[in-house]
Amino acid sequence: MEDHLQNLYEVLSKVEGYVYPNEIELNWSILIVLYPYITGLVAGAFILASLERIFKIKVLKPTYGIALLTAFSFMLVATMPLVSHLGKPLRAYEIMITPHSSSAMAIFGFVYLWYLMVVLFLEIWFDYRRDMVIWGNESKGVKRFLYKLLSLWTTDISPKAVALDDRIGYIVTVIGIPSAFLLHGYVGFIFGSIKANPWWSTVLMPVIFLFSAMVSGIALVMLIYIVLTKVRKQLIDMECLDTIAKYLFYILVIDFALEGLDQIHRIYVAEESFEALHKLVFGKLFYTLFIYQGLLGTVVPLLTLGTLQFYKPKASIRKIIYIILPVLVLMGIFFMRWNVVIGGQLFSKSFYGYTTFKTGLIGMEGYLMAATWLIIPFLILSFLLWLLPPWNKIETSHE
């Protein structure tokens, strides 16, 4: 409390121009930057998995299982930044039992549960059921119990039963694609529907969030695939990586075009807020918007990926590119979320001034807390990869 006030007094001394007195405090901090970031990674990773499953892009097979488990691991954590930033975290369940029908945020719990339980959980379960039965029979001790428990003590692995698993898994994925779109488009709507804030209030926000989600999720799976294959001392499937890179390029083009359109529209119509926002992007957001998000996170990956579409250097060089690019893209999308969430609160709704973002290392809204919520999904993923290694699965054709 004292720290918080001291922090606010420091921010007060850095206020430029005039902001409403209640605006000195930034209400949504780094944890709310993480929330759309993490849900975006989920939606993106899932859509990459669907490319293999539904659109039958077989060359992406090595990443299918990794993508699903990645989406699941991040999904388990997606609500945690939200809950830990609440003023009353213990009341979080109220959003589920008494949702307010006119609130864009109220539906979140349902969209989240639908996606986690109906889509991701079911798809993974049906995909792994046969393998879990087999692994359960082959293992001993706790692991045996875990597999039995996870497969709900089912034993039928006849071709007929497996075909049914596959069929249901397919249907779940078909439902999953619009659900992934809904999940992340909806997160964009939470911001886009706030008419009080001209930096957020754009009808394009859900679409921009969706495509940036795909970009980040695909980049993450690409990176995890490379790291995992290196750790397992296996050969990297370059054809698979080239194909992922191709899709990353296409979606990055759409994402860039949409964000460009949004900015061009803002500049052209130059509404009441224009001068205030203009000063914002060339001032407090200059590095995060133009350098991190724009140049390093978008333009460099776009040019590189674009070049790779018609000029292919040798595999060893492509490998290095495929390690650096996802890192750049992931950083770029992180700063895209940053620019939306933090940027949208730096200027006053009076358009007469600016406040400052300041957070400490520790505390509920500190950097360490944020880092924790980013690291935990990787720990969950490591556990899941140990328990359900996609590379030990019996080959299925997903037909």
Binding site: Y18, Y20, P21, W28, P99, S102, K195, A196
Partner: protein
């Protein structure tokens, strides 16, 4: 019997048209366009429906309203939490605009611009607009924020989860998260005083009667008299929030 009753002859067309047109004319005569309350529209209830008027010409910037609000409602004393505050606008001769509100104006104001550089200067008291279509109520995910029948926007602090979505949604910056309670806090129009027939604290204390409080449903109320006799305007009318805080002599610089 077999005659097609739906067939529209020219005679029937004119007949129906005349009936329809006169119907519309009569209906509009019964509910005349209310130019007075262009931003807010009464829900039509018979009871009280509160609104606020502020006469900028009368405000002297003493800041007593902001101070009284802090005391009456136990608002944290630090200068980051306000249910009511006052802004000082100074338009300089070169056209530049300076807005100031040191500590929300609770200690009054001093003019930082030399007299010979000032084109005009005025004070604008700010508070919750108790909007009829309030964005903060719309976005509350649990329904902890609500509008009472009397048109007052309140927060149920026993129910609020502290997600801060309402703080983001308010275009006027009238909400904050109470640093001790962790829930959203805002002007209640001194609901606890209204119940006892008293005026809200900020209205009661205003030495120049710049703040007028009243029932918009009562044609004889002081507020309706004020609205009829002044050119009143709400802040940010384009946002269509149904603001019920009407200012007289509101300059376009005020946002």
């Amino acid at each position: 019997m077999n005659q097609d009753t739906t067939k529209l002859s020219r005679r029937n067309f004119f007949k129906a048209g005349t009936v329809l047109a006169s119907g519309v004319a009569i209906a509009s005569a019964l509910t005349p366009y209310d130019g007075l309350l262009f931003a807010a529209e009464s829900p039509g209830a018979k009871g009280k429906w509160y609104g606020i008027g502020i006469d900028i010409n009368k405000c002297i910037g003493c800041g007593k309203c902001a101070n009284a609000c802090k005391q009456e409602n136990n608002v944290p004393k630090d200068p980051f939490y306000f249910r009511s505050w006052v802004e000082q606008y100074t338009i300089k001769n070169d056209g530049s605009i300076l807005v100031e509100s040191p500590s929300g104006g609770v200690n009054g104001f001093t003019q930082s611009v030399p007299d010979n550089e000032i084109y005009k200067s005025f004070f604008v008291p700010k508070m919750c607009n108790h909007c009829a279509k309030s964005p903060c109520t719309q976005v509350c995910p649990v329904g902890a924020t609500f509008e009472t029948e009397e048109g007052i926007v309140l927060v149920d602090e026993k129910y609020c989860i502290g997600c801060r979505y309402c703080v983001q949604a308010c275009p006027y910056g009238c909400r904050y998260i109470h640093p001790e309670k962790g829930t959203a806090d805002k002007c209640t129009l001194c609901f606890h005083r209204l119940k006892h027939g008293l005026q809200p604290a900020c209205f009661e204390i205003c030495p120049t009667e710049a703040r007028i409080f009243g029932d918009l449903n009562d044609p004889g109320s002081k507020l309706n008299y004020f609205l009829k006799n002044h050119n009143c305007m709400v802040v940010k009318p384009h946002l269509n929030t149904g603001s019920k805080l009407f200012y007289n002599a509101l300059s376009p610089e005020v946002r």
